[in-house]
């Protein structure tokens, strides 16, 4: 069985991470189909708030720790921009219909969703289909490949310029959303499900 399972420490760390991640997703309400689809319909902004906050907080911490000299490897995926863009367009279609993304779909199983089981089975099937077509996809859309490019590296700006800009945009978006009439700061969206 040694070849099927990674080492116990790695598995324990992954399990602990998943436990916290799943807990947070459920408390955030993003394990719910209605919350995710209503984001795409601009009726509920929970998903955007969770994601933008996670990105800004994560970026400040990780680039901050690196700036303090800590050895933190990055995990930047290749900018094969046509594959990123077309893959993203396809992903959005599927996500609007499934009502989940992979992480929230699996978390939704624990939250009680019945139809999410079919979404997750579909995801495994989608992975199998992609595995068959990967060589063809890469031959059509695989170039150009900008490698591990970041917004900072392609613009020759400091990462902190981008993080500050991102934080400012997030702040403005949040302010606009929260200052809608009849809302209290930070409260959950009125639509829950």
């Amino acid at each position: 069985m040694g070849e099927i399972f990674a080492g116990p420490t790695e598995l324990a760390l992954g399990a602990a991470t998943g436990l916290v991640f799943g807990f947070l997703l459920q408390k955030g309400g993003v394990t719910r189909f209605n919350v995710i689809v209503n984001q795409f319909l601009f009726r509920d902004f929970t998903v955007l708030k969770v994601m933008l906050t996670a990105i800004v907080v994560g970026a400040v911490g990780i680039y901050g720790m690196r700036a303090m000299g800590m050895d933190i490897p990055m995990h930047i995926k290749s900018a094969t921009i046509w594959m990123n863009a077309v893959g993203g367009l396809i992903f959005g279609i599927g996500m609007a219909i499934a009502g989940y993304c992979p992480g929230t779909g699996v978390a939704a199983l624990g939250d009680g969703s019945r139809h999410a089981w079919f979404a997750v089975l579909g995801m495994v099937a989608g992975a199998a289909v992609y595995a068959e077509l990967d060589p063809w996809v890469k031959s059509v859309l695989g170039s150009p490949d900008l490698g591990k490019a970041t917004l900072a590296s392609v613009t020759h700006l400091s990462v902190w310029v981008w993080i500050a800009a991102l934080a400012a945009v997030a702040g403005i978006v949040f302010a606009v959303l929260e200052l809608r009439p009849g809302r209290r700061i930070g409260e959950a969206e009125p639509r829950t499900a």
Binding site: L89, F91, G92, L109, A131, K148
Partner: protein, 194 residues
């Protein structure tokens, strides 16, 4: 009130929590939050069980799970993470007694009715399409959206923009958009809890 028993947390608190969780995965585990690669491992494990020769001959699967002769761990850090997502959500829901046995979601049924077969089929096809897109793009909402977004990766922001645009377009097309301003309707209480 015990915070763990609250049904919903502020989305900002949840987002900050996920951001802080990625500090831990980057700094302590040298990993980035992600989920969709696990679906490839799961698909590969099934294919190996059913048709080992076919699984071995597929370079994309072999990159994740190796081959029968030279296997790589299928249940790895991310696989454990994905399994425990369901457990974490289960605990969160149970603590708040908010578990919701949703069969056909409200937003769906308003447009397509309560039929289970239609909803289950659509969920399957939606899942299939989105994972295909995620593997083409190199990640999903967690691997690209959060982990890649916070690293300021060009690949991830390209993905994020594309998926949001097409998600909005698809949702508008599929679920329709009733007349009037959505936010006004929410504040008028017309759109009530589902």
């Amino acid at each position: 009130m015990n915070v763990l028993r609250m049904g919903r947390w502020s989305p900002y608190a949840v987002g900050a929590g996920i951001g802080a969780l990625s500090w831990a995965t980057f700094a302590l585990m040298h990993k980035a939050l992600g989920t969709s690669t696990t679906m490839v491992c799961a698909a590969g494990a099934i294919e190996r069980a059913v048709a080992p020769g076919h699984a071995d001959s597929n370079a994309y699967l072999a990159k994740q799970i190796g081959t029968v002769e030279a296997p790589k761990a299928i249940v790895d850090w991310q696989f454990a993470l994905v399994i425990m997502l369901a457990v974490g959500a289960f605990i969160a829901a149970r603590l708040a007694r908010s578990t919701f046995k949703e069969v056909v979601p409200e937003v769906w049924s308003r447009r397509f009715g309560d039929g289970r077969l239609l909803r289950f089929s659509a969920a399957f096809i939606g899942g299939m399409v989105l994972l295909f897109g995620a593997r083409m793009a190199g990640g999903c909402t967690s691997g690209h959206g959060i982990s890649g977004g916070l690293q300021l990766a060009v690949s991830s922001w390209t993905f994020f923009g594309a998926m949001f645009v097409s998600g909005v377009a698809t949702a508008m097309l599929v679920y329709g958009r009733r007349s009037g301003n959505a936010i006004d309707r929410i504040n008028d209480g017309e759109v009530t809890n589902g």
